[in-house]
């Protein structure tokens, strides 16, 4: 019992001593910590960005409008009736009729085929309905589209969700890239901390020698450096969290303005509690790992034989 207590108190002392030593040279060590913080903030920040975009796109996708082109044989009265009927459905928010005359005018104005169309004797365009679904999931919308396609007056349903799918794939790709960046920068953090610890070992060569001569085990010698590494990483994690919140703070109001233009009340999502903990934990762990590598390499050199 008392042995465990002494063991824990030794670790606690090492933890506090390591922190004290870092604060003894605030400027130099702070720069190291900021470098680590930026290296951690970059992948974490990218991840936050991608997850914001994908959350946003989830809501777009379900609310995607689509168009029904009616058969040429359907007249305007019937088309109006259809629009009203469809609007009765619970999964439809709004159905707007674009009548063929109106469509022709718009097409002439915007398509650049104006003169070509004038040479035609008859209007080649059918009546069309623009359907705005109530929203919900993507499958609800496809179900609705399918149901409307089954009507005998329907010639064609054009469900324009392809761009959402493309965006999805782009986001998927972006996530993969973020994963790679995360791994690379993780290595970067390990190397930065490993190098810092290596310098610290060089500076404290005398102390290490004396400790070994009076019977300090490798574990005893190593432990303070491992805790230093942990603090560097943990400090880097704090810097990363502050950086991400800072950037979100700067971006928040233009993002809100943009969302309002799209009639959306979307708010940017930052790091949640678990993600914050994970960022700190990852920092600490990478620091520990970097220190472990540095000490394993450099403390062995101090051994006899």
């Amino acid at each position: 019992m008392s042995f465990i207590y002494r063991y824990l108190s030794l670790h606690y002392k090492n933890l506090v001593d390591a922190l004290t030593r870092i604060t003894e040279q605030p400027l130099g060590n702070l720069m190291t910590i900021v470098v680590i913080g930026i290296a951690l903030a970059l992948p974490a920040g990218l991840r936050v960005m991608v997850s914001n975009i994908s959350t946003m796109s989830d809501s777009w996708d379900a609310a995607a409008d689509f168009t029904i082109y009616l058969e040429m044989t359907v007249d305007e009265t019937r088309a109006n009736e259809l629009a009203r009927n469809i609007e009765q459905r619970t999964d439809v928010r709004r159905a707007i009729l674009i009548d063929r005359a109106q469509a022709l005018v718009e097409f002439q104005n915007y398509s650049g085929f104006g003169e070509a169309l004038e040479t035609l004797q008859v209007n080649p365009l059918p009546h069309a309905l623009i359907i705005s679904p109530t929203g919900g999931s993507t499958s609800d919308v496809s179900e609705l589209a399918m149901a409307l396609e089954g009507m005998e007056e329907t010639a064609l349903v054009q469900l324009d969700t392809a761009w959402v799918k493309r965006l999805r794939s782009i986001l998927e790709l972006a996530l993969r890239v973020v994963d790679i960046v995360t791994v690379l920068l993780g290595f970067g953090v390990i190397i930065v901390i490993g190098n810092t610890i290596r310098l610290e070992i060089n500076n404290r060569q005398d102390e290490i020698e004396v400790i070994k001569l009076v019977g300090g085990s490798n574990g005893y010698v190593r432990r303070p450096f491992l805790y230093s590494g942990f603090w560097y990483g943990f400090g880097g994690g704090i810097v990363a969290i502050l950086t991400i919140w800072g950037v979100l703070g700067l971006v928040n109001s233009p993002a809100r303005a943009l969302a309002e233009l799209y009639d959306s009340s979307y708010r940017l999502i930052g790091l949640n509690f678990m993600e914050t903990l994970m960022l700190l934990g990852t920092g600490g762990l990478l620091g520990w790992a970097g220190a472990a590598i540095a000490t394993a390499r450099h403390l062995r050199d101090a051994d006899p034989e």
Binding site: D206, V214, G215, G216, S217, Y220, P304
Partner: protein
Amino acid sequence: MIHFENVGKRYASGREALSGVSFNLEKGDMAFITGPSGAGKSTLLKLIALIERPTRGTVLVDNQNTSRIPRRRIPYFRRRIGIIFQDHKLLADRSIFDNVALPLLISSLRHREVSRRVRAALDQVGLLEHEKFSPLSLSTGEQQRVGIARAIASRPALVIADEPTGNLDPDLSLEIMRLFERFNQVGVTLLIATHDIELIDKFNCRRLRLDQGRVVEMPKSNGL
């Protein structure tokens, strides 16, 4: 306590520091190793503390064959030996108390026990009132006494000293040796390397002279 049998040590550089050293030091003895510098005195002590390993022969310390001690057990082995260095190897950024406490903290002794033993050791070398100071504030002789306090704080049965009076004037040297004599009187085995023949003539102890890598037993002096 210490038994050397036909021990040789050749360094990687090719220099043969010891060739065929044999001697025996009984428990409770105090002995000097003399010889010109470069005769291998330091090497001999390093073999005892496992700072180096012999290239041939057998070294027994407290009936334990040191060649059978694996590298990872060396720290635990060293905790049973007090080692004193010519340059005392104190840590300048720690107080005298913390320097002496270092081997005790490494052995993870209870805090109360650490304080008690550190004070006892500092008291024996006459530096109790300096415990909060930095080693740099002390004279060379006092620094050496802190080094001695550190070596004896864990109450080892064996103390080895490499030129402990190398940097001291004759009066201080004698004082240090008297200190060793006192430890010996309470049962500590001591092996002290020194080139100061005049100094050890004052003590009635065994003398081992290292010459060309071999040990020659010298007659005991009567002391003064």
